[in-house]
Symmetry: C2
Subunit: 334 residues, 2 copies
């Protein structure tokens, strides 16, 4: 393992992604990727009395599913990296309080899933861990309530707004196995270009995605064509177009092999999610469900997964602040 360039770590013994799991809510279950998810819930409560408790149950059961699918016992997991969008990351800490595994709480907003893969890979590669588990969740109802308006108000949502994915994505990393493998991680810096519209997260996060993307290409000497797929976490339709344009003006054409998990998870015409999906679980479930299976079936051979996060809260918006963004990337190959 060594640092190459300014922000990239190259794993000389690439880190195996042993298995993944994902559980999603009802809207995601009606989307085009439904068949790739481990479990599709019929409602947003899953038998719980509040959305926050439901989100905790979702991350807990997704972790249990990932462990079961991996055929390892829970006590073989050395460390857990987990975080979510709820204030003080309570979905993770309540959902995983019985996990009984050394726990590092992380917060990268919607970039959390890849932040976990990045940190977890360093731990596996440096031989302090045989297995690590990387977990994240989000929930449409708990996120709307916390970041925007009470759902009961029935507020109209602008066309640039995105739909927080209800679900959880979990990956177990290990020293050995037959791949897919994490070969590099490019760790993002905070980038703030002054966007203040909390209903246009795609525009706020696109500059951070560009920064990490360009840095990844410079650090590794690669071009967009190296990858079968370059996938951002949740820029949505608006942010995706901005990233394509910004990349083009910096000399990189990503049009043919680039997509965004927020664009992929919902159907644009029938599902009325405006600019697409968002939330920690957007990248988490699309990767853990669809992308991981494509890698295992060798339909993708080289993927750059780059999750983006908007590092704001409702108080900062009320105080007139702009929205700092961040993007973390991992390169995954079979």
């Amino acid at each position: 393992m060594k640092k190459i360039g300014k922000q990239t770590i190259k794993f000389e013994n690439p880190v195996n992604i042993l298995n993944t799991a994902c559980i999603v809510g009802p809207k995601e279950s009606d989307g085009p990727l439904a068949k790739y998810f481990d479990k599709c819930l019929e409602d947003e409560f899953w038998g719980e009395s509040t959305w926050e408790k439901a989100e905790s149950k979702i991350i807990k059961e997704t972790v249990n599913t990932a462990i079961a699918k991996s055929n390892i016992s829970q006590d073989k997991i050395d460390f857990c990296f987990a975080g979510d969008l709820l204030n003080q990351c309570i979905s993770s800490s309540f959902g995983l309080r019985e996990l009984n595994v050394p726990f590092y709480g992380i917060f990268g907003a919607c970039s959390t899933f890849v932040e976990g893969l990045s940190l977890g890979s360093v731990f596996v590669e440096s031989n302090v861990a045989e297995h690590v588990i990387c977990c994240t969740s989000s929930h449409f109802c708990s996120a709307e309530k916390q970041f925007r308006f009470p759902l009961e108000l029935g507020n109209q949502r602008p066309q640039s707004s995105q739909w927080t994915v209800t679900g959880s994505g979990v990956a177990i990393l290990s020293k050995s196995g037959d791949g897919p493998f994490i070969t590099h991680t490019t760790v993002g810096k905070i980038v703030d270009m002054g966007i203040k519209d909390a209903n246009n997260m795609g525009a706020a996060m696109a500059p951070a995605a560009l920064d990490t993307l360009l840095t990844h290409f410079k650090d590794t000497g690669r071009n967009p064509s190296y990858y079968d797929a370059i996938l951002t976490g949740d820029l949505g339709y608006v942010g995706k177009e901005i990233l394509i344009e910004l990349s083009q003006s910096n000399g990189y054409n990503i049009k043919s092999n680039y997509n965004d998990c927020g664009v992929m998870i919902f159907d644009k015409d029938s599902q009325d999610t405006h600019s697409g999906g968002s939330g920690c679980a957007c990248c988490g479930t699309v990767f853990s469900g669809y992308v991981y299976k494509m890698l295992r079936e060798k339909k993708f051979k080289k993927v750059l997964l780059m999750a983006t996060g908007a590092l704001m809260n409702s108080t900062s918006s009320q105080q007139g602040e702009s929205i700092p963004g961040i993007a973390h990337a991992v390169s995954i190959e079979i």
Copy 2:
């Protein structure tokens, strides 16, 4: 570097703490450790219009102070680990948005400072980083407003409540230098013993502190007497007494060399903080100010620093949930 026992990482080339910095608010400046802090503020705003912006300024300037004291240029810092108590950790992301360093956001509530030292040490030891910076902050006014009641209400505080420290603590870790050195980290698990009183954090976090302390002794084969000082982050007077008792009933007498940063930072008789200090900056400033200087002056030779966090938010308390706790430890020697 290798994992020993269940939760401990031993650094075979101990990680150097190159330098530290801390800035504190006015109440901390009236306390017994005032002379050890780099800067003592005269009010809670520091020229800003809101408490949140003031907290961001405090972490930003503490980072600048740490870098200046370390005699390294900012571009020599490979990674930043930072987090705080505000929803979505906005103190860190706004305060450090111009830092221009690859950024891992972390959340461990008041355990965040030691969580950063723990992760940062793994990065330095595994040779992917020459220098990392570990940062945290908290602010009495922004925390009271967010977690409890508007300050303007003038609510009476129960005797078990603690006073969130206004300030920031920052440490820069490096591969080389003359110490003090981080030799081990014991990574905590989430522990929830069912305490529900959000005005008695010490009682909620003490079982997690006990769990990490006992595990540290088992994993390393050490006893309490190995250390000149065992320091918890912010158990306060109530939690400190509980931890002493719980340790005693598990066969470890820590009475003679154990103290808590929340007990140390304020004067019990004159400062009316009830059960003592708390917040990410409690452990952060007491370590970065007082403890680090004691280590450099060889007045302490072996310190176990264990920060404790309560992983709840105001919604979870309103929904009748108990308070999960966590404690992360680092062993520091000269």
